[in-house]
């Protein structure tokens, strides 16, 4: 690993453990809520923003073609 050319902030390194717990609880509860909502058919689809996941499928296809 390269040495860092900026100060990551010690507090910021430590706080991530707490941030992660909070995020974990939040994501878990959202997930539960989503499941409950979809059970009752209350989920509205919102596609104004992309999903966080990068689409790898068509890349792999092109890779195959190139090989």
């Amino acid at each position: 690993m390269n040495f860092l050319y900026f100060d990551p902030g010690l507090g910021a390194m430590i706080v991530q453990a707490i941030v992660a717990v909070a995020a974990g609880v939040l994501l878990f509860s959202k997930n539960v809520l989503y499941k409950v909502k979809s059970f009752f058919g209350l989920v509205k689809k919102d596609d104004s923003y992309d999903s966080i996941d990068v689409d790898e499928e068509d890349t792999e296809e092109t890779n195959d073609k190139n090989q």
Binding site: L10, I14, D53, V54
Partner: protein, 464 residues
């Protein structure tokens, strides 16, 4: 011909490599210290996937030797900086950064920095431009760029939510992001109840001041699992994608409030189209161009168009239209003509001033429609001075002059109250005189049924 090779003014912080100008071409030199990362990123198809998905700027490998690798990235005609983005643009840039970090983690890499300057807008979308920002993920290590993400992205966005888009101007003063303590102090107390904002901003600010005196780096840093790090990123992503401005000022009404009818509106559009096509323009900038309505009349004629406005809501409206219609040749950004973005950072050249970037961009046509009365009457800028401003970067200038009888001009003049006589110079002959110092008049046409005149000028001293 001698080629000039000059290091790019913003490229000195990262020892992995730097960007330099090879004549007119921008190239990136990679130092041996970064070879292992670069080779892995390349061979594993990591770069390829990101480029394929239009998330990272594409590049070609120009040369490889033992002591340096040179890559040439795709040319980006104009770089906009974070303080020139509308809220939606800023948001998309933040989401892009998180998306790339999440993908990097899944492939055993991390983003080693999360600077907002790593993103710019190109072909209608945000794109990551720092190809060397990746490093190997180290098992259990927290995200070193986490704080940078907060000061560059989450902080400014949340502040903008509560204080308006103008908050982004603060980034001109803080090139490495708004200090966490300041973000925390500027947020309303109720944000302490937010399960995202409390830990990511308020608690972070507390921890940072508590640990600011650890000079010997003795404090132990807890390990953070990959899953935990993914949770942070995902929760930030969810939070930011739902973020909106608290007071969305009513926008979109502008053209229904115009003081001229549809016939005049269409005459103006036809005239612009005619003039622009006669100039065979490759690059055009519409200053004060609102949501890009008039720029779009020449969209099929001009390969690269920029539209600026002082109103960030108009810039956002333009940007959303670009995303919706998948337009790839319009670049909107926020610009206050009376106070264009200055050169900032080390040497005042790390992020170049707007004027500097425009001089390099060299637009073939500059449009300034319904703008001169604002510059002259709201900004009190004499005609000769505004002419000098346009002459700095414009080859041709299409400028609209609303006469004194125009209702908007009248309203601006009336507001001068007892000083109204000071503005007697606001008339066509003084305007033409002021502009004649720098420009040659090519065409002039009255817009029928309006109190406005359209001018086409050519720069007298343009160095092309």
């Amino acid at each position: 011909m001698t080629k000039t090779s000059k290091t790019h003014e913003a490229s000195f912080r990262d020892p992995s490599g730097y960007i330099y100008h090879d004549g007119n071409i921008l190239r990136r030199k990679i130092n041996p210290i970064y070879f292992p990362q670069y080779k892995k990123l390349k061979d594993s198809g990591f770069f390829k996937t990101l480029i394929k998905n239009n998330l990272l700027i594409s590049h070609e490998e120009t040369s490889v030797s033992e002591d340096q690798i040179i890559i040439t990235p795709e040319h980006i005609p104009f770089i906009t900086n974070p303080y020139e983005w509308g809220f939606e643009q800023y948001k998309q840039a933040a989401l892009l950064t998180l998306k790339i970090q999440k993908f990097a983690l899944s492939k055993g890499f991390i983003l080693k920095d999360a600077s907002a300057y790593n993103v710019t807008f190109h072909k209608g979308k945000p794109i990551f431009i720092d190809t060397l920002s990746f490093d190997f993920y180290e098992e259990g290590s927290p995200w070193r760029a986490y704080k940078q993400f907060i000061t560059h992205f989450l902080g400014p966005l949340v502040l903008a939510r509560y204080h308006g888009n103008e908050v982004f101007n603060m980034l001109q003063a803080y090139i490495d992001g708004i200090p966490v303590k300041m973000i925390s102090s500027m947020l309303p107390p109720k944000t302490k109840l937010s399960s995202v904002l409390y830990p990511n901003i308020h608690l972070l600010a507390k921890m940072e001041s508590r640990h600011s005196e650890d000079y010997k780096a003795e404090t132990k840093i807890a390990k953070l699992s990959l899953k935990a790090q993914n949770n942070i990123i995902e929760s930030l992503y969810n939070f930011i994608s739902k973020l909106s401005l608290k007071e969305v000022s009513e926008w979109g009404d502008y053209y229904s409030k115009t003081n001229y009818n549809e016939t005049a509106f269409n005459t103006k559009k036809d005239l612009i189209r005619n003039w622009v096509s006669s100039l065979n323009a490759k690059k055009l900038i519409d200053i004060g161009g609102n949501d890009g309505t008039f720029a779009r009349t020449v969209q099929d004629l001009v390969p690269h168009i920029m539209v600026t406005d002082i109103d960030s809501n108009a810039v956002d409206a333009n940007f959303l239209q670009i995303l919706k219609n998948k337009e790839d040749n319009i670049l909107p950004f926020v610009c206050d003509v009376l106070q264009p973005a200055p050169g900032i950072g080390f040497n005042n050249t790390e992020r170049e001033s707007l004027i500097h970037r425009l001089t390099e961009y060299k637009p073939d046509v500059t449009m300034a429609l319904a703008l001169i009365h604002h510059i002259t009457l709201s900004g009190n800028v004499p005609f000769k001075k505004s002419a000098a401003f346009f002459a700095k970067f414009s080859k041709n200038l299409i400028i609209e002059f609303p006469k004194r009888e125009d209702s908007w001009v009248t309203s601006l003049l009336v507001r001068k109250r007892e000083f109204i006589n000071y503005f007697d110079f606001y008339n066509q002959s003084e305007f033409e005189k002021g502009y004649s110092h720098f420009f040659t008049l090519l065409k002039k046409e009255e817009l029928t049924e309006t109190k406005r005149v359209m001018y086409l000028f050519e720069n007298k001293n343009y160095d092309s």
